[in-house]
Subunit: 209 residues, 2 copies
């Protein structure tokens, strides 16, 4: 949307408040990729955007609201980027979504880890965003065109399958974070194959039993 | 070790400092079952034990040291209680360990959840205890007599299997916590069967592929 901060500053007078807030939010999301929430201060954003702290408080109220807005936008981005393409078998589509999830975590590691820490550590606002984001990501497996074929993976919509898919999301998150921290000689491709077959692997006993 | 606090108080003069600290620690662990770390104050322990706060500070220094000691002891208890019995097939032994893990989480839910929250939220001392406890629980799958037969479950000791077992521990923890919060009509037995076959389910593609 904008190529650099100089451009943004030069267009200040022509932008609507909403457009301006949007630009600042996008900048926050980009900084959030490589900075934890603790590091991501109003001061840092003001400096990066080349505007005053007062103006930032005008748009976001306080640091907490700014963080919430950034994290919500980052969660929306993750949801959009991992959308199934609608092409290929259910397993191929799952692998594709996982591939984009892994790339997202790699590219946004510091912010992502700090979100998980905040959400798990009892920060109510972050926990809500994290949990509804995770629910949206896994609900997708049971909805829409993919779900028509997803029974092939064992994804029938029952309470026990829902519970196991919830756990599989925790599994995937844990494995990907561990792998990004130390790949242990496991290639990205090996990781993706292993992750995508783990879901039918977990569900197979239900389907077969 | 002791049946009630009155007994404990009456034996005060005869007990060694180590024995006394041990009793207080055990009381702390019992309170930790039904109270979060936030709730588990020196004041509460002093009241339950019928002794002065000053004496408790004498044994544990400060609240943080007391919490660390309680959590470490609880982790040791969990490790002991989930030890494989050495009887039955690897899958039966795994199911037995999982059964005792589930029972432990049910019986110690409030404390366990608060430990996870503290560990995930960036409390360094709790994180270390939690991670070494989890490592000890899963390392056991690769060591000792069980490991001799564990290849039947796909548990060969390779980096990718270690990574997947790490993720499986996150999966198990997530599924059990969710189930304790809301069992969704899933019986304890169904839960246990599903959890124990999930490990070979996750590992099967590696073994077969």
């Amino acid at each position: 949307m904008f190529s650099n901060m100089a451009h943004m500053t030069s267009t200040r007078v022509r932008m609507s408040p909403d457009g301006r807030r949007e630009q600042l939010l996008e900048l926050g999301v980009r900084l959030f990729a490589t900075h934890s929430l603790d590091e991501l201060s109003i001061e840092m954003l003001a400096e990066e955007a080349g505007i005053s702290r007062g103006l930032l408080y005008h748009y976001f109220g306080n640091k907490q609201e700014f963080h919430t807005a950034v994290v919500q936008r980052a969660a929306d981005d993750l949801f959009a980027v991992t959308a199934p393409t609608g092409e290929g078998s259910p397993l191929e589509q799952l692998t594709g979504s996982l591939e984009r999830y892994v790339d997202y975590v790699v590219a946004n590691f510091n912010g992502y880890v700090s979100l998980l820490r905040g959400a798990a550590g009892g920060h109510e606002g972050l926990r809500e965003i994290y949990e509804s984001s995770r629910a949206a990501l896994t609900d997708r497996l049971f909805e829409g065109p993919v779900a028509q074929e997803a029974a092939a993976l064992g994804l029938t919509d029952t309470p026990v399958v829902r519970l196991l898919v919830h756990g599989w999301a925790a599994f995937t998150e844990d494995v990907v974070l561990e792998w990004v921290r130390d790949d242990r000689g496991i290639t990205r491709k090996e990781l993706l194959v292993t992750l995508s077959v783990s879901l039918p692997g977990i569900l197979a006993p239900l389907r077969d039993g």
